[in-house]
């Protein structure tokens, strides 16, 4: 039985990754299971300099989901390389960094340093709804996105370059194509959907940042649709995420065209969620007699030929 998949130059032992920002730098979850069981660990987004993040409250639960406005609190590139990367390197899993800059030059600097440090993958976060500059702005305009990805492409040699798209992009197919044309080796989606919540009694927003990003099962139908659309638009692999809670959810994304999947909010609900998905996929394949996970990718049966 083969569960291995290829994402650009990266070969993952199984298609299960963690979603950036929901797994710290791996340390917390290593208390619960061997991270080597995962295809890849995608770490919390990093910026050139440490970021403080947004004021509290930063999270709020919504029906079947949550809003977060963390604001990319992170240790910054230098500490990441020195203090965080060696830890994840102890495990037999691919290490993927998620990066955020406010200018293309910052993305290039970050990507070059991480590539030189030997990261297996670099995921460009061009889709964070929680910071005022950079982030999502790059995804709103395909020309800007293509130019950004092209510049980073030229700086990255060894690592696989992944571009994380925003569900707020006006045309997700065009955004995915722009990333591919500029040299992305994979696209990942979706990031959180911008949302808000309020306290009616106090007449105040509940989040310190007023707006935040929605994640969890509440966004799964949107994510599935977008992964399906992106997979139809590009030939590079698509990494699907958004509300994956168990192996069944993950398999749905794979059928929709995702070559790999990422488990996010589910890690908060059950610390072993990501490894549970690995095991669930394996037992599904055994039960159904599926020899190769790659045979399932994009295997959704659709009657209407227009879709």
């Amino acid at each position: 039985m083969n569960t291995a998949v290829s994402i650009g130059k990266l070969r993952l032992k199984n298609p299960v990754m963690t979603a950036s920002g929901t797994f710290g730098y791996g340390e917390e979850y290593a208390e619960f299971y061997d991270l080597g069981r995962l295809g890849a660990v995608v770490m919390k987004g990093i910026s050139l300099r440490p970021m403080q993040g947004n004021p509290a409250p930063r999270i709020w639960e919504t029906p079947c989901g949550m809003l977060n406005a963390i604001g990319l609190q992170n240790v910054g590139l230098k500490s990441f390389l020195k203090e965080k990367l060696p830890f994840i390197r102890q495990f037999d899993t691919a290490a993927v960094a998620n990066v955020l800059g406010s200018t293309p030059a910052e993305y290039v600097k970050l990507a070059r340093a991480l590539d030189e440090a030997g990261l297996d993958g670099i995921e460009l976060n061009v889709s964070c709804p929680n910071v005022s500059r950079g982030g999502m702005a790059f995804c709103a305009n395909t020309r800007m996105l293509g130019s950004l990805v092209g510049k980073v492409r030229a700086a990255v040699k060894g690592a696989t370059l992944i571009v994380k798209l925003s569900p707020s992009a006006p045309d997700i197919k065009a955004a995915a194509r722009a990333a591919e044309d500029a040299g992305a080796e994979a696209v990942s989606l979706i990031n959180t959907l911008p949302g808000m919540a309020m306290d009616l009694e106090k007449r105040r927003p509940v989040l310190g940042n007023v707006v935040g990003g929605l994640s969890g099962p509440a966004i799964k139908p949107v994510a599935l649709r977008m992964v399906w659309e992106a997979a139809g638009a590009v030939s590079v692999p698509v990494i699907g995420m958004g509300g994956i809670m168990n192996a069944r959810d993950a398999l749905e994304f794979i059928l929709a065209g995702a070559r790999a999947v990422a488990v996010g909010t589910a890690n908060f609900v059950t610390p072993t969620a990501a490894v549970d998905v690995v095991e669930g996929i394996e037992s599904y394949m055994r039960d159904k007699g599926i020899e190769d996970i790659n045979d399932l990718v994009g295997g959704l049966l659709v009657d209407n030929p227009d879709h």
């Binding site: 340390e27 208390e31 004021p55 509290a56 930063r58 079947c64 609190q73």
Partner: protein, 263 residues
């Protein structure tokens, strides 16, 4: 998932486990004590630590809810909770024999008072749950100033009477003890540098108490609450401001030095 011997649990290790509910009973209107028995080997909780408790079985509500260890005996853990919203409303309906998904014990614990200092505990409302095991552990040494809005929200008064060196009660509406608030009572009590202060209660109360402690050069700790998603330090959701930047309540806390937070 259950390790074979206690020695195999690394120090500070947190477990994700199923817990058999032994009892879930109302101790006061809308306030309950739930006792559960972990079905896997776990570390014994220390006063100040908390658990993330799964309150439903489906996707709604999604996240576990944080509750302090209120008491523990022979491997059983007790939590005291107040019904606030949809999660605690579901918890209220849990029956003995049911199994809950739990994570813990989490966070740091209350330190012991430094030699020569008298422990003074200032607690407001349901937060008494957090300091109760500390007061018990200090075996009749702690002076306790406990307040709430109204007598309806005061719990465990008799038990506190038995374990505190001195118990001062107050309510905003005067329905129990003095008609006053905790910071005022603490002032009247004569809080001074000979005391070591433990604070746990609503943000407004904590802020006022911290100000008083700073004026009187009193050292101590405060236990804080923030909304939590993971409870283990991964999401950065429970951040609180400190002089050195944001810190995670679930990991670096919930117990912080009085001058270690900016409220």
């Amino acid at each position: 998932m259950s390790p074979s011997s206690r020695a195999s649990i690394p120090r500070g290790a947190v477990r994700s486990f199923g817990a058999r509910v032994l009892d879930n009973s109302e101790v006061k209107k809308d306030t309950y004590v739930l006792r559960f028995f972990p079905l896997a080997e776990t570390l014994p909780p220390r006063p100040g630590q908390f658990y993330m408790v799964g309150v439903g079985t489906g996707l709604e509500p999604l996240l576990k809810r944080p509750f302090c260890m209120f008491d523990h005996e022979e491997g059983r853990v007790h939590i005291l909770y107040r019904v606030r919203g949809r999660g605690t409303e579901l918890l209220r309906r849990v029956r003995p024999g049911e199994t809950l998904a739990v994570l813990g014990p989490l966070g740091n614990a209350y330190p012991l008072p430094p030699r020569g200092k008298t422990p003074v505990v200032a607690a407001g409302g349901t937060a008494i749950a957090s300091v109760f095991p500390l007061i018990k552990h200090l075996k009749g040494k702690a002076a306790v100033i406990y307040g709430a809005r109204t007598v309806e929200e005061m719990v465990m008064m008799e038990e506190l009477e038995g374990i505190a060196r001195r118990l001062v009660l107050c309510t905003e509406d005067g329905t129990c003890g003095s008609a006053a608030m905790v910071p005022g009572m603490l002032d009247e009590f004569g809080l001074g540098p000979e005391h070591f202060l433990y604070v746990c209660g609503p943000r407004g109360m904590a802020r006022a108490v911290l100000r008083l402690a700073a004026e009187r050069s009193v050292k101590g700790v405060v236990s804080l609450e923030e909304f939590m998603a993971c409870g283990i330090g991964a999401c950065m959701g429970c951040a609180v401001r400190t002089p050195g930047g944001y810190r995670r309540v679930c990991k670096e806390g919930p117990v912080f030095k009085l001058d270690g937070v900016v409220l």
